[in-house]
Amino acid sequence: MYVADSRGVAGARDALRPGPRAAAIAPTVFALGTVSLITDVSSEMITAVLPLYLVAGLGLSPLGFGLLDGVYNGFSAVVRLAGGHLADRGGRHKPVAAVGYGLSALCKPLLLLVHTLPLIGAVLAVDRTGKGLRTAPRDAMISLASAPETHGRAFGVHRAMDTAGALLGPLVAFVILRQAADGYDAVFTVSTCVAVIGVLVLLLFVPGRTARGDAAPAASRVSLRAALALLRRRDLRRLSICALLLGLATVSDSFVYLVLQRRFDVPVQWFALLPLGTAAAFLTLTVPLGRLADRLGRWRVFLGGHVLLLAAYGLLLTPWHFGAMPYAVLALHGTFYAATDGVLMAAAATAVPSELRSSGLALVQTGQATARFACSLAFGAAWTAWGDRTALTATALGLAICVAATAWLRPAEAARA
């Protein structure tokens, strides 16, 4: 177990970290990966059956259901920042993460009880609140449990396990519905059981004080003011600005699939499978690209990922047409995520002292998520005004400019190899 990896206490870290173990993935990372895998099985079971449940099981018209998403996105950003901050106070990463996972687990049996759209929407909102709460503390624990030079790989392993769970969940749900026609209650019950196991694995196998072993941080160092002062750190500020800039030119997945479908006339029955293409590429490449990021520098890989996204936009805009093109777009899209999702956290972890790790990661994640949401709103508006091709061309141009700007800004992390 690694004790600390703050740059400020580099000497202490080197003294305490057992050298030969640097090659291994920390048990905490595996434990957290397992928790995410199990939790994703549980939540993706629900996601997979929810449309059918609403339409066929309850006879509802779920249209307009997503209308509150905009409002909710704002709330979710606040929750994430709060989760990050609370976790840093007294080094309570595990308790805050446990509350987050627990909250989501509690929502699963609630689905057995509520049968109307507004209430189901409320339960899903609480579920997502739990997700928002746990993300930053969990990522902080991953970074605190592994040596800084293996952060990329550690996040890669975690994200791969997470995605494996997301792919398994729908299959489990399908098997249940095949055994029991209309057995949505059985799906919810099994999902609850799975979620509880996830929380138990967290409680039993993730150490309570990943960070500093025994020494609790001075309360004065972990305050809201200190969290905000993080932005005064040059490294983190540059990193946040770059993540924000690039996020502003990252179109949401649903738009990518929509444009892809229109561009290549993807048969309707395949449309629902497009996200699987992205997930498959992500699952295969997230560990290798995490390792690559450890070796080449996270920033390079992160930037490279966005160049791949630019290539995906380019393919969607080219007049050529060949059979493998939709696959190529999905492969690029998945590789983009593999090169950026965990890698950004690895880069951010290096730029934040360990006692403010969770707040710092939450800050970067929130900045990126907010920028992406803004991009989606702008993209939707541009689509309305000028059509999908023009909207995508504008985004691609924006992304090219942001990539260039980021390459020029070059956060300090890029310097390390």
């Binding site: 998403d69 399908f174 057995g183 059985a186 039993l204 029955q269 939707g380």
Partner: protein, 351 residues
């Protein structure tokens, strides 16, 4: 392991933690198994006919014109014919049912053409298909669907067919839904897979947006139709032209229109203010000449595209003990709603 994670606190050994987990997994596995078995048992019971349910027997079902007017619908009553298309004479809706052996989730028919939206059980997922049927319920063509079936209609002359499916998004927790409405010409077998390719005129101006959704087509003839357009958080009644590929908005807050047999009125569901958000719709009839709306005598929320059973009455589905019952109400706002038949969905009048 180098140092134990928290040396300061007395903690369970690794072995004990594993034991706790194993015990919990065992208990939860029992709970999960029981819930699946219970649901499977319940599903099995639905294949047994219920005492007191409507009598039903397999027989010949035809959509062709005949001396007797028939009602064709999806039979929801438990037993071996559950989910099959069945008929009853239009005059005795509560009487014995004749089951066809054809299973559909949604159905409609007119002038000898039937459209059946059905589920196809695959190895790793279920898919949906639209099946065009002739008057003897023989399959003519089959088209894959990109989502869960919700609405189906045939033009009065039997040539044009339209259907709507729900497509769920990929966002976390699956809260983003959209619809896809397709129009098929059964003479040329030309399929317009999405109304989203039509040129839209909204409030007199050309309009396009990424969030455009359509549902609930009702045909006036083999070219003209009405439907619902949703965009920017509002719904609109649109009039469409399937030959020209155009759509024009007429009015706000009209969903699932259904044109009367004489083509002068539209029955529809309207989202009304000041009612519970889980039950937001009420049935109205719009007079297309005067553009006046009349609320109907059904006071509950109805989420269905109604069917006209005659020049002055409508039929619609509401939740019932076996999934869904059919109810009827006068189309002029007078009288009261009454139950027409139990355990039935997606009716069409033929013959």
């Amino acid at each position: 392991m180098s140092t134990p994670p928290s040396a300061g606190k007395a903690r369970m050994t690794y072995r004990n933690r594993l034991l706790v987990l194993a015990a919990a997994v065992a208990v939860l596995a029992v709970v999960a198994t029981v819930s699946v078995l219970h649901a499977a048992h319940r599903a099995g019971r639905r294949d047994q006919a219920q005492a007191g349910g409507p009598p039903i027997a397999a027989g010949h079902v035809s959509l062709a014109a005949s001396s007797r007017r028939l009602m064709v619908f999806r039979n929801m009553a438990w037993g071996p014919h559950r989910d099959e298309l069945a008929t009853v004479p239009a005059t005795t809706p509560g009487g014995p049912r004749t089951a066809s052996g054809v299973k559909c989730l949604r159905f409609y028919a007119a002038a000898g053409t039937g459209i059946c939206l059905q589920a196809v059980h695959g190895a790793v997922q279920d898919t949906y298909q639209a099946v065009v049927l002739d008057s003897r319920l023989h399959e003519l063509r089959r088209y894959p669907l990109g989502g869960i079936p919700t609405r189906a209609r045939v033009s009065p002359g039997g040539r044009m067919v339209a259907w709507t499916v729900f497509v769920s998004g990929d966002s976390y927790a699956g809260t983003a839904f959209s619809t896809r409405t397709s129009v098929l010409d059964t003479r040329t077998w030309q399929l317009q897979s999405s109304l989203e390719t039509y040129a839209i005129t909204k409030d007199g101006h050309a309009y396009r947006a990424a969030d455009v959704n359509f549902w609930g087509v009702t045909f006036a003839d083999d070219t003209r139709f009405y439907a619902t357009l949703a965009t920017g958080g509002k719904t609109y009644l649109v009039r469409g032209d399937a030959t020209a590929g155009t759509l024009r908005t007429l009015r706000e807050n009209v969903e699932c229109p259904s044109l009367s047999p004489d083509g002068t009125r539209l029955a529809f569901k309207k989202r009304v203010k000041g009612v519970s958000p889980d039950a937001p719709w009420r049935l109205y009839v719009l007079d297309l000449r005067t553009m006046r709306e009349t609320p109907l005598a059904e006071h509950r929320s109805v989420d269905d595209q109604v069917v006209w059973s005659g020049p002055d009455t409508i039929v619609y589905a509401l939740a019932g003990d076996y999934g869904s019952d059919l109810w009827t109400a006068p189309a002029d706002g007078t009288g009261a709603a009454s139950r027409l038949m139990t355990a039935a969905l997606a009716p069409a009048y033929v013959g």
